[in-house]
């Protein structure tokens, strides 16, 4: 530890950290700690000048270790590691103290927060002193990709990869391609046909020699690691095939909310209350009629069924508002005299061409009724004297009164929800779900298609509700990420893994059994175990279990963690 030169940088993050934590005090608390030769505060450490400050200090002051007290390492560890590398020192000589997500953002008492920030930063200084230089590892990459799901996202991703001459296995559970979009008639806001969007893609996918389409097939297991996965897929014939692939794109989509769950709407009880997908089917057949075969004189469209509701899903499903306006146009096209009521909470017209579409719909004399959040319109069968099939009791926020609306046909704009078996898929490919069941991306803004498992990407509505343009963009982004890796030939993988000190290994083989990746081998002649580093994912289970302390978890060594424990206390 002698002769170490540690630089400590405390980020204000604008006022995100500085308004709760006294950053100057944090800086002063580390001055004089063994090895610390520079300690500074700066408003944004992740900015270019912030990173240059580190790089410059490495050069000018001969720093060999760096602590950055700022946001979560899950946010900017890669950024600062690059700054270290730019300064010419090993990127693993960095340690971050999380004083934003786990300190300034969660505590209100400035004194307590500052004390905690000091403890975390001092612990980071103690830990970084014991860091060791680690070298990046490189592995060969299989260029084939497994695409899960044959909806618009999966089709787009598969084509994008195949057009770059790469092999694709497209696995679809149903007996046909097209996913949910195949059930849609026209699309908003330009009223062009969904079939046109799909047919061309489906044909190209089926004809492309580089794409193997497996229908009525399911992924049963995903083994291996980034660049070198083996996917076990059960086909229509029940036989399981093993597909070697380097990457996976999950495009498993959404399921529509079941409108029957909201009792007040009477879906399933009243014959003329239908879900948006049931209307799509009638529109495709060209027959939008009541159950008695009559054209509807009054049609009501109810927004946010299952969405933006405390009782069901809190989120907005994003596509329903514009789809509802589309129905106004489509119903009016077949029944020009039909009165259309649009019962909405807020009109979300966020995309290109959508505000214009809203204006055109309003000009078409659709009657918009603004309801409050969490107030559910009630639908009941009408009597013959009313001259309509049903009556809807709703609260009109703008006039502040209860209104009763006649309806012959009620369309429920069902939202999107995570598929009920999304958890099974998440488990198979080792990715996480948020509280609503959507798959979690690596970073919500900066890394929207990668996941916590390297080599597994997500695209489309399995990640969150989204419209066709966003889905296509994500699918192409995922394909582009994979193509960028393929073009580099080799994959860089994390330098963190476990290693056995064979001098201490007693050959008890306890670790062999514990490793979930079968990454530890026993050498019969040497009577010692050793780690196959390419297979090791650095969980550290074996490190904690070894009775002889013969296994070292690189970058998470016992000594480093002991130092951190001493530091926080």
């Amino acid at each position: 530890m002698e002769g170490q030169r540690i630089g400590v940088y405390v980020c204000n993050c604008g006022t995100n950290i500085a308004k709760v934590v006294d950053c100057e005090e944090v800086v002063n608390s580390v001055r004089g700690m063994p090895g610390v030769v520079a300690a500074r505060c700066y408003k944004y450490m992740c900015s270019n000048p912030g990173q240059e400050m580190i790089t410059q200090d490495i050069r000018d002051l001969g720093l060999d270790r760096v602590v950055v007290a700022a946001c979560s390492p899950r946010m900017h560890e890669p950024t600062f590691r690059k700054a270290l590398a730019a300064g010419g020192i090993n990127p693993y000589f960095l340690e971050m103290a999380n004083i934003r997500e786990q300190c300034s953002w969660v505590h209100e008492d400035g004194r307590a927060a500052t004390d905690k920030a000091i403890a975390l930063t001092r612990a980071a200084v103690r830990r970084v002193a014991l860091h060791e230089p680690l070298e990046k590892r490189y592995v060969e990459m299989n260029k084939a990709t497994l695409v899960l799901g044959g909806g618009i996202a999966g089709l787009t991703a598969a084509l994008e990869l195949a057009m770059a001459d790469q092999l694709v296995f497209l696995v679809e559970r149903e007996g046909r391609l097209g996913g949910n979009l195949a059930r849609v008639d026209l699309t908003a806001p330009y009223l062009d046909s969904a079939r046109d969007l799909l047919t061309d893609r489906v044909t190209r996918v089926l004809r492309h020699p580089g794409i193997t389409v497996l229908l009525e097939a399911e992924l049963t297991e995903l083994l291996g690691y980034v660049g070198n996965f083996v996917a076990r897929v059960r086909g229509a014939d029940g036989a399981v095939r093993e597909l070697p692939v380097g990457s996976v794109i999950v495009c498993t989509g959404y399921q529509p909310f079941d409108a029957g769950r909201v009792a007040a709407f009477g879906h399933g009880r009243l014959p003329n209350v239908i879900s948006s997908f049931e209307l799509e089917r009638r529109l495709k057949e060209g027959k939008v009629l009541t159950d008695k075969g009559r054209p509807p004189q009054y049609a009501a469209i109810i927004h946010c069924v299952g969405s933006r509701s405390e009782a069901w899903h809190p989120y907005c499903s994003r596509v329903c508002c514009m789809t509802a306006l589309k129905y106004g146009h489509e119903i009016r096209a077949t029944h020009p005299d039909c009165f259309i009521y649009d019962l909405y909470i807020d009109m979300h017209a966020f995309g290109k061409g959508m505000e214009d579409f809203y204006r055109r719909s309003a000009e078409m004399k659709t009657i918009f009724i603004l309801g409050g959040k969490n107030t559910v319109p009630e639908i009941r069968a009408a009597e013959p004297r009313h001259g309509c099939e049903m009556l809807i009791k709703a609260h009109d926020l703008l006039c502040g009164e209860e209104v009763e609306i006649p309806a012959d046909l009620v369309v429920l704009m069902v939202g999107m929800e995570a598929r009920k078996d999304a958890g099974v898929v998440a488990h198979l490919v080792n990715i996480s779900q948020d509280r609503d069941g959507w798959f979690i991306e690596s970073h919500p803004k900066l890394d929207p298609v990668a996941t916590t498992t390297d080599g597994v990407f997500i695209a489309g509505t399995c990640q969150s509700p989204k419209d066709i343009p966003d889905t296509v963009a994500q699918a192409r982004a995922a394909a582009a990420r994979i193509l960028a890796r393929i073009s580099r030939g080799q994959l860089e993988v994390d330098a963190v893994y476990a290693e056995v000190n064979e001098d201490f290994c007693s050959g008890c083989r306890m670790c062999n059994e514990l490793c979930p990746y079968v990454a530890i081998e026993y050498d019969e002649t040497k009577k010692r175990s050793h780690v196959i580093s390419a297979l090791c994912k650095a969980c550290g289970t074996c490190v904690a279990a070894c009775p002889s302390s013969a296994i070292k978890g690189r970058h998470f060594t016992d000594e480093q963690i002991y130092a951190q424990i001493e530091g926080v206390l």
């Binding site: 779900q433 550290g540 279990a545």
Partner: protein
């Protein structure tokens, strides 16, 4: 001055640490007593880490991992789950109340749950009062 417990938290990188970050991005407020140390998996938490924490003056230790069945490393948390009762017995042997240690599952989407767990263990340890291991050991060494 009122007793403020010092608690060391070992959080797995994939679920619990991310859940703790989510509590931050959601601006959920909780007690400042838990100092977090990030490990890749709860199964990395060597019993010696826990003993070391008490030895250094911690009043409590919190271990958080992914929910059973959700481990990023497939089954690391099951190993943690099996070690945990042994760890409690070990601590009892040292005269440390097993209630000072908690094993909790916090997923990446459970920011609120992480905050609740922290508040909970803080109150629990507050009720138990300071852990005397460090003081006893130090006096013991002096007497020797």
């Amino acid at each position: 001055m009122a007793f403020e417990p010092r608690i060391v938290g070992f959080l797995c990188n994939w679920c619990s640490y991310t859940g703790a970050d989510l509590a931050g991005t959601s601006r959920i407020k909780y007690q400042p007593n838990v100092r977090v140390i990030r490990v890749m998996c709860s199964a990395r938490v060597d019993p010696s880490f826990v003993v070391k924490a008490f030895r250094e003056g911690a009043d409590g230790v919190l271990i958080c991992g992914c929910h059973p069945g959700d481990c990023h490393y497939q089954e690391g948390n099951y190993k943690t789950m099996r070690r945990y009762p042994l760890l409690k017995r070990l601590l009892e042997g040292y005269g440390i109340e097993p209630e000072r240690v908690r094993l909790e599952w916090v997923s990446a989407s459970e920011g609120q749950r992480f905050a609740d767990v922290v508040n909970d263990i803080t109150e629990q340890v507050r009720r138990l009062g300071p852990c005397r291991v460090k003081t006893v050991l130090e006096t013991d060494l002096v007497e020797r």
